[in-house]
């Protein structure tokens, strides 16, 4: 826009500009707006690509993996030995030898196949743990925030007690008393993360229950539960989306630690943490057995962390330019 120092701003141009701006500002919902803002951030997009890839790998695991992840590979594969280094034909490995992209593990199983199937384990552990913690935590938080009073006090004090312990140590204590196994791992990790969801949900409900549209519902005679579930909760869920995405990352990391300590997935399941634990003493002789499971964990966790951070920025109204 040109500024003429004698006559002031050109009114017709200003008019046009205003019209353009209004045309550009097409009304859109919270989620479509957030989605577009997410796609504008490098971190968020990187996270989406990583997670998308891993989800694809998990879905197509039987097609991608050249071998069975659990059965030994000894039979019918004469030249492969236990803990063989990776053999990739394109990278100059002898064409005569059988190709194993990530080498063989201690039971002469193709490690690439195990890593591929491991993605199913990690994704489902992350998802189910968060689903469990989310449903319990969000319900407690919503009830505490909406009802208030003694109930609120009791729920939140219990949450404070859980938060007072170092999370992974408490999870280990719960996991140890429940016994090893993947289901108990998920329960233990979910329990220690419940308070986070409860707190965020409570804060969110507190801010929404005083808004006019909730008061309107109440005036129209809607019952408490009905208002809570149809008016308050759907609008209070937004901040939990971010927490849940980051929570999947933490759950995958913690579950891998459980597997590593021998409390989580048990052999021969191809869980990345358990795979690392089984071969950790081979770090000097067969480091590839330690590299790949760790890299797999790292990329998956990185993907969810990046997506979570991206979502946080995209959903934060104070950051909209």
């Amino acid at each position: 826009m040109k500024l003429n120092p004698l006559s002031g701003p050109d009114v017709s141009e200003l008019d046009e500009l205003v019209r353009e701006e209004t045309l550009l500002e097409r009304p859109h919902g919270l989620w479509s707006g957030a989605w577009r803002r997410l796609l504008r951030r490098k971190g968020g997009v990187t996270g989406l690509i990583i997670i998308g890839t891993i989800v694809l790998v998990a879905l197509l695991a039987p097609i991608i993996a050249p071998y069975d992840p659990v059965l030994d590979d000894f039979i019918g594969d004469g030249d492969s030995r236990r803990r063989d280094s990776p053999c990739v034909h394109v990278l100059g490995c002898d064409e005569e030898k059988t190709q194993h992209l990530m080498g063989l593990d201690g039971n002469a199983r193709d490690q690439f196949s195990r890593i591929v199937f491991g993605s199913r384990w990690s994704l489902s552990i992350g998802f189910f743990t968060v689903a469990l913690a989310f449903s319990v935590g969000a319900t407690l938080g919503a009830v505490a925030g909406y009802w208030g009073g003694h109930l609120d006090n009791w729920i939140m004090r219990i949450m404070d007690v859980i938060l007072g312990f170092p999370a992974l140590l408490l999870a280990i204590a719960i996991g140890a008393s429940l016994g090893p196994g993947i289901r108990n791992t998920m329960i233990a990790i979910a329990i220690v993360s419940i308070p986070i969801y409860a707190r965020v949900m409570r804060a969110s409900v507190l801010s929404i229950k005083e808004l006019d549209f909730v008061a309107a519902s109440r005036t129209l005679g809607a019952g408490r539960l009905r208002i809570l579930w149809t008016r308050v909760v759907p609008n209070a869920l937004t901040p939990l989306v971010v927490i849940s995405t980051l929570g999947i990352a933490t759950a995958i990391l913690d579950a891998a630690a459980f597997g590593f300590l021998g409390l989580g997935a048990q052999p021969p399941d191809p869980e990345w943490g358990a795979m690392l634990a089984a071969e950790r003493s081979q770090i000097f002789s067969a480091p590839h057995l330690v590299w790949f499971p760790g890299l797999a964990i790292m990329f998956t966790v990185l993907g969810f962390n990046l997506l979570g951070d991206g979502l946080r920025d995209a959903l934060d109204p104070s950051l909209h330019e």
Binding site: G43, V161, G164, F165, P166, A167, L168, L169, I172, A173, A176, A249, L253, A256, A257, F260, L261, G273, L276, R280, I283, F284, P287, V290, W291, P293, G294, I297, M298, F299, V301, L302, N305, L306, D309
Partner: protein, 355 residues
Amino acid sequence: MVQFITRRLLLAIPVLIGILIVTFLLARLIPGDPCKSILGEKATAEACEAFAENKGLNEPLPVQLGIYMQDVVQGDFGDSIRFSRPVTQILVERLPMTIELALVALTIAIVVGVGLGILSAMRHNTAVDVGTMVVANVGVSMPVFWLGLMLIWLFAATLGWLPPSGRLSAGAASIPFYEAWGWEVSESGFWFRTLEFISNHFIFNSIITGDWSVLRDALTHLILPAVALSTIPMAVIARITRSSLLDVMGRDYVRTARAKGGGEGRVVVKHALRNALLPVVTIIGLQLGALLSGAVLTETIFGLAGAGTMVFEAITARDFPVIQGFVVVVATGYVLVNLIVDISYAYLDPRIRLE
């Protein structure tokens, strides 16, 4: 300031008493008969009666609580079920290792984390900034145990610069300062335990006795586990420092400081950083839990007999007195760390002292 610290210390006492009561009740809530778990499943009724009488289990709960608290205040946490040794003795042996590991890791995390945070805030939106934040993101996404194994692989197995595990080289021994100085001490009692506890901090002990070869040995053994343990707190601290500093750098008083002709370095250090550090200090206080959880994994990988491996073994073996002792010590540590955090607040922001 002295008044502020005294008040904070007095406020910590009821919290500690609360922790003692909760720990005591938690131990009673655990299912199972203590007699059967200590004397064995086939213990006779008479033996159990004598056992209960002996351990004071026939007293009413409040009396038991009183006795327990009296014992704990005197540094007596009972005996380990698994080892039949006093829990205090086990803590004296195992805890210093973890304290040294955590302190060195925290120092690395703070120095490098705050440094990287400042660097990337000052070079906002440049390659340096992007690079640092990529490193920080990867840092929080890495499993501690995997990073530890990778460090062993690189620095111990491939380069051979550092030892892969253990606390001291075979044959090396740390001579306790009280022996080195020829103190006459009886080998038991609270006083001796305290001396032993202090001298089991090998780094501190070798510094005060001037035993440089042991100091070097202990440090070379500690560096890999400490680096592994420090990554996650370091990444978290770097991110918070950066965002907090960026926020402060946009404020009016920073612009004023610049307008007065202060150099960029001076503006950041003298004006912006002090205010930017408040959230950083909060985060550092919150990292204690992460350090303790990480210690279990780090100590497992590096073959260190610290409190982390101790509590993991105790949990899997249901050694309740050991778990109980550990919880009390950790909770006390939490309270102390929060105290230090509050004092740093008061130092950084004088308004807090007045409240």
